[in-house]
Assembly symmetry: C2
Homo-oligomer: 364 residues x 2
DNA sequence: CTTCATCACTAGAGCGCGCTAGTAGAGCGC
DNA sequence: GCGCTCTACTAGCGCGCTCTAGTGATGAAG
């Protein structure tokens, strides 16, 4: 049977798909040049006159030609694609993704997203990226084991955002967690807080460092006795659960909490607000990340800013440099965090319940 | 300078990247069969003995072979890839993405994610997907103009989730918005509410229908005089902004609010809780979507459930059917919404005075 | 015996592009 | 005329795979 491959004018063919996608050959024919020339033009390579260049673009536009990235990457054995592993529910990841797109584009790379979720583990998500010929991988707060990352790294450049892997040849971009935590604690202490608890981030990126830094900072301020790490996991759930725990303590409750991240802080805030406490009067709360949730006006969360844009920039540059063979040894970019004081921190209330027994060694 | 590129067998090549990726030919050679046979095995096509099949898989595993999807889609002119357009910040989209992955996989399709954001409009995101040879498109709550969608549809099967486009040959999967709204209003009325406001979703998916249904439902219950649509846009911001507006009204404040979606409800709740009001006593709140945010234990939001899993299933099936040529005319899948009553709805408190205990807890 | 179907496998032509090597023609100096 | 360079273009191979059209080997039917 004759198979009329519908082109510009439909030919009432079999119940097949829509129009055949135009190829470079179509453009070449219509523009009266060779296929190679069209290729030149689309790669923005030298060797075509301005007039021809324009004509080619015009014709391409007319017939709706769009370079086929599959063929392109096959032929060039360069895909110009970077894979991004993210957790789809994480707002800070969302922030970074938004920053990654423009940076990658500027460097001439496309971005492929692959989401990990409860039902789709990170390995699987990474596999999908590899199958699509990514040249490099940006892993957002990966929880993959070090050995797996090392294995990955043998295949392609990998950069981990928000988590540093020591001992293996993998680049990383993360914040100087300790510094951020120190700033947060210093801020709270300056406001007059002494009983400052920390909700831990569990196995989450940066959690271990934050925990450690919290303890150190508290000690530095002579608040050893107030050190209190509550278990958590960087989700709203853990924030609200810990809020319940704290509320149950009433008078013994800390006057400030450093949450494991913004999500955790939000969970906590919701419960605290709901219980009728004043923030920051009855409880000051500091988050971590400064994800877009934090600066919603009604939340107005004091938090430690991790610049997603800068993360993105460095990470993309990292991978691209590796691909260009500019660099050979692992690099660790440590970004300066910055405490952003908003509305959830303030002096502990003077008028309410006296939380601290005055005159037993605690300075005021 | 000599560049020892540590791989298994160094070939002192140019300062190139890591190990060459193994190809089908490598597997074939090592397994002592033809390339075509390996192809057969990996496509799970008939024509290979079980023994050979196993051997091929074993060898492939040994050398770390992974089919190259670029080459595959080029050769087959079937990419087996579906593109998903999402807004990376939208939690309901996150829910749907999570559901789409397994469903697509089961149908033998891969998923490519492309995120729209304030700095990357939907057109651009769609373009990226097209460049990657997606065979079909799932658009999550698209805000693209109808004409653009129609144009897209001429190139490939498209299904819109959460929004219906009338008059064009595009499939859609969405909830019977009116029904959900009716359930919500009926629930509130039954609890004794009369003054029920609605925060509008602006141009968001389903917003127009919900608005209309809200008005109709209120009228049905004889509450014409209480009809009140507050402007909004399905974000936390609009929820909190409207909460401020309502709080300022004190005694005149409605006793219940139907928010444009869950995010909006959350923004509203935060402000209301913070102001010291009791939910649901002083104000009942109903969301829309039942995104994962809604059932966080501390939020415990009454909301109208839109089943993301079912959305995903139908949408994928929709596109796949089109690709298989099973169907030819546009189809509209309307899903049953289901009111989920949780902790944010209850009878209104008897006296309006109760709602503002101290008389100056709220700034105006 | 021949014929034919079936099974297990192979040869080889593309898919749409990138890219190297090459060509035609113009311009220029001698 | 010659050779030379430079610009503007083209021919055609091959990236890693799929897929049609085969090939030989085996066994059953005639």
């Amino acid at each position: 049977m004759p198979e009329a491959q519908g082109d510009t004018e439909t030919t009432g063919g079999p119940p097949r798909r829509t129009d055949r996608r135009p190829t470079m050959t179509d453009v070449a024919q219509r523009a009266g040049v060779s296929r190679a020339l069209v290729s030149l033009v689309f790669r923005d390579a030298p060797g075509a006159s301005t007039a021809t260049r324009e004509r080619v673009f015009r014709v391409a536009d007319e017939i709706g030609y769009r370079p086929d990235s599959a063929a392109r990457m096959l032929a060039s054995s360069r895909s110009k694609v970077l894979g991004v592993l993210l957790t789809v529910r994480n707002p800070f990841h969302a922030d970074m993704v938004e920053s990654i797109y423009p940076v990658a584009e500027q460097r001439g790379y496309e971005i492929l997203l692959s989401a990990a979720s409860p039902t789709r583990d990170e390995c699987k998500a990474v596999d999908a990226l590899l199958g699509h010929r990514c040249e490099g991988l940006l892993l957002l707060g990966p929880t993959l084991p070090t050995s797996y990352i090392a294995e990955l790294r043998r295949k392609l450049p990998v950069v981990s955002l928000g988590r540093h892997f020591r001992g293996i040849d993998v680049d990383s971009v993360h914040t100087a967690e300790a510094k951020g935590v120190r700033q947060a604690i210093a801020h709270l202490v300056e406001l007059g807080h002494r009983s400052i608890a920390h909700i831990d981030g569990g196995r989450g990126p940066g959690a271990a460092e934050r925990r450690k830094a919290y303890r150190a900072a508290m000690r530095k301020h002579g608040l050893d006795d107030y050190i209190r790490v509550l278990p958590g996991d960087q989700t709203e759930e853990s924030g609200s659960a810990m809020a319940q725990v704290l509320l149950a303590e009433r008078e013994a409750m800390p006057t400030a909490v450093l949450a494991g991240n913004d999500r955790c802080a939000l969970g906590l805030l919701d419960v605290v607000w709901r219980a009728g406490l004043q923030v920051p009067g009855d409880l000051s709360v500091v988050g971590y990340d400064d994800s877009h949730l934090a600066h919603l006006s009604h939340i107005d969360l004091s938090t430690v800013r991790q610049d997603p844009n800068r993360h993105a920039e460095l990470a993309v540059q990292c991978v691209v440099d590796r691909l260009d063979g500019v660099r050979d040894e692992a690099e660790e970019f440590v970004l300066e965090p910055k405490l952003v004081t908003r509305g959830t921190t303030g002096p502990p209330s003077q008028s309410g319940i006296m939380r601290f027994p005055s005159g037993d060694g605690v300075e005021t």
